[in-house]
Symmetry: C2
Subunit: 263 residues, 2 copies
């Protein structure tokens, strides 16, 4: 294989497993060439990645000496992703009674979910998390892509304790949007003690669900090191939870729907 082909293959391998460490020796072995050649290849990959702006190479420490691909979006690209989502959100007929919006098609669209996840991954790249946590159902696709990008496992909190979850921990929390007590349940095996978690949810109004997820984490002697919600609705976003990172701020308080991008 010549240099160009190797560079193409290395790019594909790295992009296929974001934030996973690869040792240069492994590449040298796989492509049957000297480690110094791989180092040269890596310089070219690094430059091309920097030029494209989809992510960058990080050199990993340790005796083995390796690299990992860290996905990244520029401010401009992140803004574009959120502006596209904002436009989709403002489409007619999304608004239903009770301050609810139809968003399932958006939250489960792989392109949208992946784009949004990229913005979260950028934000939470340095929080040193052990796990991504979401509560079913509509945030799962976004959370799965965040977990992929950050090379972390994903735990999904259920609404009801399921027989397939084994022993579970359950908590009750007050949901302001539905104006009642709701339940969350998670398998005891799902999160290790002392975990640092990134919480992801699709929609927040009042913050009850996020508060519930934090209470759940406390039951696992763990805590949140980052909270990302796709849309925060209401007039007083900032007051409710000041450690939440919402991508879109939705204000529907006076009949009209206004959405601002929050980057």
């Amino acid at each position: 294989m010549n240099r160009t082909e190797r560079v193409c293959c290395i790019t594909q391998i790295l992009c296929n497993s974001p934030n996973k460490d690869f040792s240069l020796n492994v590449f040298a072995q796989q492509f049957d060439c000297a480690k110094s050649s791989i180092s040269e290849d890596m310089k070219l990959v690094r430059e091309a990645m920097n030029a494209l702006g989809y992510g960058y190479l990080e050199t990993t420490s340790g005796s083995k000496g390796g690299v990992r691909f860290v996905p990244y979006v520029s401010d401009e690209k992140a803004h574009q992703i959120l502006e596209d989502l904002r436009q989709r959100f403002l489409e007619p007929d999304r608004r239903m009674g009770g301050g609810f919006f139809y968003t399932a098609d958006l939250m489960f669209d792989p392109q949208i979910a992946r784009g949004v996840a990229m913005v979260f991954a950028r934000r939470f790249a340095a929080v040193d998390a052990d796990v991504v946590v979401t509560v079913e159902t509509k945030g799962i696709a976004v959370a799965a892509f965040v977990a992929e990008f950050l090379h972390l496992p994903l735990a999904v909190i259920r609404r009801e304790a399921k027989v397939t979850e084994g022993s579970t921990l359950s908590i009750n929390y007050f949901s302001g949007s539905s104006d009642r007590i709701q339940k969350m349940s998670l398998s005891k095996r799902a999160i290790k003690k002392n975990s640092r978690a990134i919480l992801i949810d699709d929609f927040m109004r009042g913050g009850g669900s996020i508060a519930g997820m934090k209470e759940m984490l406390a039951e696992f002697e763990s805590h949140a090191v980052g909270v990302g919600v796709v849309v925060s609705a209401g007039k007083e976003h900032a007051k409710i939870l000041d450690d939440v990172f919402p991508l879109l701020l939705l204000d529907d308080s006076e009949g009209e729907v206004r959405i601002n991008i929050n980057l």
Copy 2:
């Protein structure tokens, strides 16, 4: 940018959006060079991709003349993915009462979900589907990756009609594994009439859930063109639904758990 850098960038762009059509003109514009240069680049990308085996380039027809990246896994790699999953499945303590298994950690692990999705994407690459459909909750991550790989939208059937789903269609079906009537519900907006759907589910025993999903599709005047389940349990897999593609066949009928790979 020189050829090697362009090849690296093109690889990244293509792999970032599987099964999405890209016109050569767009690349020529983006990299500010002649279309003939991009054609040469593409030859190199094609060869390198073929050598690596993570996917291949398909030339798209039409006046614009373009390419798309089609993810692919070799038989050997697919077998390895399933063997890894099989080993994880056989870990002690997964088995619970009533023929249930704890699999949430596996189904939501992005590496596993992505690997499994790759095998499904390979299988369903040519069925010409319009949408991927799953029923909440544990198959959602796999289904999201399948949808990403095939560049399709994803629709998630809920257990209960939710207020955020707007008008919904609901069906009842008999679940053999829980021995009772269960319900599925999907927003009327989720699937267009005459859609060709790929159904994905994490676990099948008896096939009631898949039958329910098919009934749901019929309500949308749509039908399944492929059905993938990660694990099929029971002794008589083949008899129940002969159009299902299960990846692992689990037989726990005589106290012991035996799992075979089905490729």
